[in-house]
């Protein structure tokens, strides 16, 4: 019962068929970041390219649980093509969903497939799994191209 609440079909779908999980070539306009969850070892490498205030490309590779992988897939789909401003707003909205203890609001609707993660917010230990890709996105699009990770 609880289990189905957490692992919604949408999450399992993204886990089995992740979006944009293939790193684009790291040319001069792109930023690469590498984020690790130190409590479980899950990791994501993310490349983003921002042109004229628009996130034109988000690609990634990673190792981790269904929640971290599915969440990164959803994030990549939402952020690619969105304005820098909107991408940061989405990341903030997702963070607020993760702090919601599972209670969604109308504002969460912008997260589309990301809404399926509401159930994860009931499991404090898994929240950081869901946030891994989003934190990498925020980091990547806040940097200048060529700026080094770490």
């Amino acid at each position: 019962m609880n289990l189905e609440k957490m692992y919604q079909e949408i999450i399992l779908d993204h886990y089995k068929h992740p979006q944009q999980k293939k790193l684009a070539p790291l040319d001069s306009g792109a930023v690469e970041v590498h984020h690790v969850n130190p409590t479980c070892g899950d990791e994501v490498t993310l490349r983003a390219r921002v042109v004229d205030g628009v996130v034109v490309s988000v690609t990634w590779d990673g190792l981790g649980c269904s929640i971290s992988q599915a969440s990164t897939s959803v994030m990549a789909g939402l952020a690619q093509g969105a304005s820098l401003h909107h991408s940061l707003a989405l990341a903030a909205q997702f963070l607020s969903l993760m702090q919601s203890k599972g209670v969604t609001t109308e504002a969460d609707e912008v997260l589309e497939d990301g809404l399926a993660f509401a159930g994860v917010a009931l499991y404090p230990a898994r929240v950081k799994c869901a946030l891994l890709g989003w934190m990498a996105l925020k980091d990547a699009i806040s940097r200048e191209p060529g700026e080094l990770n770490e």
Partner: protein, 416 residues
């Protein structure tokens, strides 16, 4: 005379927490004792009794309560010492095994250390150490210029002793390793390694966190110089650990934490220090926790450590054969003889997800890197699912584990 088999069903009743339910009414099945054990009522009562009836600062003051607190604390030391075949004056109470290892690494690298360090001197560890027996040595290496070397681990999960005679050499000053792996369940050949290290004059430190709680230990027979373990993994309270050391070695070691209670004479400029163990117990000690640990030791002794060990062998054997019978499940670590940690991988399902399904059934296991990240890397995995067993676990608990893993396979559609 062989000890009678223990009755886990009966013992379980001594542990109030094990009666509770989790996740909406599921009976708790606790398989994470390797991280920390649950506490029997006698331990909780002993701590409460200390606070209700004898609490005062041990080793200070001359009133009756101070005398009683001192006596309770020193009795606890004697009980723990006897449990491992040691002398009371060789038993130092610390906060934890982690603190004990930091104490040793710091003391043996400070200016007054009995070991005089030269560049190129070596500290030998193994690839299977818990971070608690790795990072203190990394920090020590920064201070002393010592080189860290590592005994490798075979694919089977045993220490690879092929090149041990070059790993242990003239330059080896310290050998520090775990008795039993908290990930692989491997039990290491302590005496053999200790004797080799002693032949080159090295100091031998043993991390006994995963052995002292689970089997009868005679520290003299092990042949090491220093040994550490944590109270909370052996039915005792948190906040108390033990450092055992050969007295002459402890006597030659400078203190780690300094302050009250560990001094002889103090002036504004300098101080002289007490003999061990007090030299290493600065401040008002963790009296109630030490008393609680002594109660845990008495409880374990009354059950019988050989019976505890045999019970765990039975459970581990059943767990391994049950898990191995599932397609796509692989156990990490040696077939046997082995300790009680059973780490495994399930094809196509991340350990976090396996753990989540088990948790949904009320089965508590550990998932992740188990504070042994380099060992995970050695096996090319980011994480494992780990079940650990103790005297209160039953065959039903093992069955719940296996049923939970099967459910995870069904849920994620990966059973072949």
């Amino acid at each position: 005379m062989p000890e009678p088999k223990l009755n886990a069903e009966l013992l379980k009743k001594d542990f109030p927490l094990l009666e509770r339910t989790v996740r909406g009414g599921k009976q708790l099945v606790y398989l994470d004792s390797g991280a920390t054990s649950q506490k029997p009522r006698v331990v909780l009562d002993a701590e409460r009794d200390f606070y209700e009836n004898h609490n005062a600062a041990a080793h200070r003051g001359a009133h009756q309560l101070a005398e009683e607190a001192t006596e309770a604390f020193e009795n606890a030391r004697a009980v723990v010492a006897q449990f491992i075949g040691a002398h009371s004056r060789e038993v130092v109470f610390t906060k934890s095994a982690t603190e004990s290892i930091n104490l040793v690494a710091y003391s043996l690298s400070s200016a007054d250390s009995p070991i005089q360090w030269s560049p190129g001197d070596e500290v030998l560890l193994t690839e299977m150490e818990h971070h608690a027996n790795l990072i203190p040595w990394q920090e020590m290496a920064k201070r002393t210029g010592a080189i860290l070397r590592f005994i490798p681990v075979t694919d089977e999960g045993l220490l690879d002793l092929t090149n041990i005679n070059t790993l242990i050499g003239e330059r080896t000053r310290i050998l520090s390793f775990t008795h039993a792996s908290n990930v692989l369940g491997t039990t290491n050949p302590v005496r053999l390694l200790a004797d080799l290290a002693h032949s080159v004059g090295a100091v031998v430190v043993l991390d006994a966190c995963q052995s002292v709680p689970h089997e009868a230990i005679d520290v003299v027979a092990l042949g090491v110089d220093l040994m550490t373990f944590s109270g909370h993994k052996m039915l005792g309270p948190t906040g108390v650990g033990v450092l055992w050391g050969r007295f002459d070695l402890l006597e030659s070691m400078p203190p780690f934490l300094t302050g009250g209670s560990m001094i002889e004479v103090v002036t504004l400029e300098s101080a002289t220090y007490s003999l061990p163990p007090k030299r290493f117990e600065a401040g008002v000690p963790n009296m109630a926790q030490a008393v609680g640990l002594a109660a845990a030791v008495k409880y374990l002794t009354s059950v019988g450590m050989d019976a505890v060990a045999q019970h765990e062998v039975d459970l581990v054997t059943k767990a391994i054969s049950g898990l191995e019978a599932l397609p796509g499940v692989r156990i990490l670590g040696p077939a046997g003889p082995r300790g009680g940690a059973v780490s495994f991988l399930v094809d196509g399902i991340h350990p976090h997800d396996v753990g989540q399904v088990l948790d949904d059934d009320g089965v508590a296991v550990r998932v992740g890197h188990h504070c042994a990240w380099p060992l995970m890397r050695r096996f090319g995995v980011a994480a494992t699912t780990r079940a650990t067993f103790y005297l209160y676990n039953t065959e039903d608990d093992v069955r719940a584990l296996i049923a939970g893993v099967e459910r995870a396979q069904r849920f994620f559609g990966s059973a072949s």
